[in-house]
Symmetry: C2
């Protein structure tokens, strides 16, 4: 394990993370491989392996430094926005790399403080954004929520996460519509 305080080691770590972030934004999760990252960062492949023996934790770290694209900037009608966002999350969760990253995050967070902080950050952002959007929708009379808005992320994302990582299947539009209906009574129903 490279020292976390050695300046040269810290510089290569930073270069690797920057390269991983660039590759993630350019080509999605599948682009973040040891070979590509080493090339882009201008370091040897062994250096990448020394800092991150496996690709998933590197991808988790890189993901934590890019803006989370989901459930951001709600538009009205809220139900249409929500359907688009949940569908986008469902499509991401069909990718093997996203499955790998999310299950690595959940698993490694149990014993790695740094990873646990990423998990908490990730969960907090999603829960906060969805709660804010649904509170606003309720204030506008679009929906009467069936649960507190902070519980909405578990009810909305949980089924798609389980479908992807435990059932290894697709969250289709029927499941997404059932999720949207579960959040409350929509005024246009």
């Amino acid at each position: 394990m490279a020292s976390e305080t050695d300046p040269r080691s810290m510089r290569s770590r930073e270069a690797i993370l920057n390269a991983a972030r660039e590759l993630l934004l350019e080509g999605g999760p599948t682009a973040v491989t040891h070979v590509h990252v080493a090339d882009r960062a201008g370091v040897g492949r062994a250096t990448v392996y020394r800092h991150w023996p496996q690709a998933e934790p590197l991808l988790v770290e890189a993901m934590a430094t890019v803006p989370m694209p989901f459930l951001d900037k709600p538009t009205t009608p809220t139900r249409d926005w929500l359907r688009r966002e949940l569908t986008a999350i469902a499509r991401q969760l069909e990718l093997d790399d996203v499955r790998a990253v999310s299950t690595t995050l959940a698993n490694t967070a149990l014993w790695d403080e740094n990873m646990d902080a990423r998990r908490a950050q990730f969960a907090g952002i999603l829960a906060d954004r969805l709660a804010a959007a649904l509170d606003d929708a309720q204030a506008r009379g679009e929906i009467t929520l069936a649960l507190t808005s902070r519980d909405a992320a578990a009810l909305a994302i949980g089924p798609m996460y389980y479908r992807s990582t435990i059932e290894h299947a697709t969250a289709d539009s029927a499941l997404i519509e059932a999720i949207i209906a579960a959040l409350g009574t929509w005024s246009t129903d």
Copy 2:
């Protein structure tokens, strides 16, 4: 790695799995440690480590050989049975060992065929049982389902799984009631 075909290695593997299963049934997931398993199986600790370097995959294997206790033998009213079962699952998912096992299963299944078979078995049992119970409840007029019964496991267990493994928090009764309501219109509503 011990050979999977060497008879002596297979015998010790079997003894270790039997010991793990016994300990699991007697003391729950926390009882399945390398030390306890070695003692019970009458093998050296190094032998346990050789077959299972980490405790979670051993626990996953042991769990796969004991009857799954959840969502089994539905009683009526179905809603009361479902509330009890979901509450029992939620309480299990609060245990660190169950978190570890379920996230190890989801993560390792992505590259380990044997673990993937366990995952599929686990997911299939839960989905089948819940679908059968809900189909029967609908036939009896207890509920009009809001989704196909095979989607019910994702909608019911997914939020609790996400709450436990991503949000690291408790699925309280409000969330469980929201899940039950999401499955359909209950005739007693």
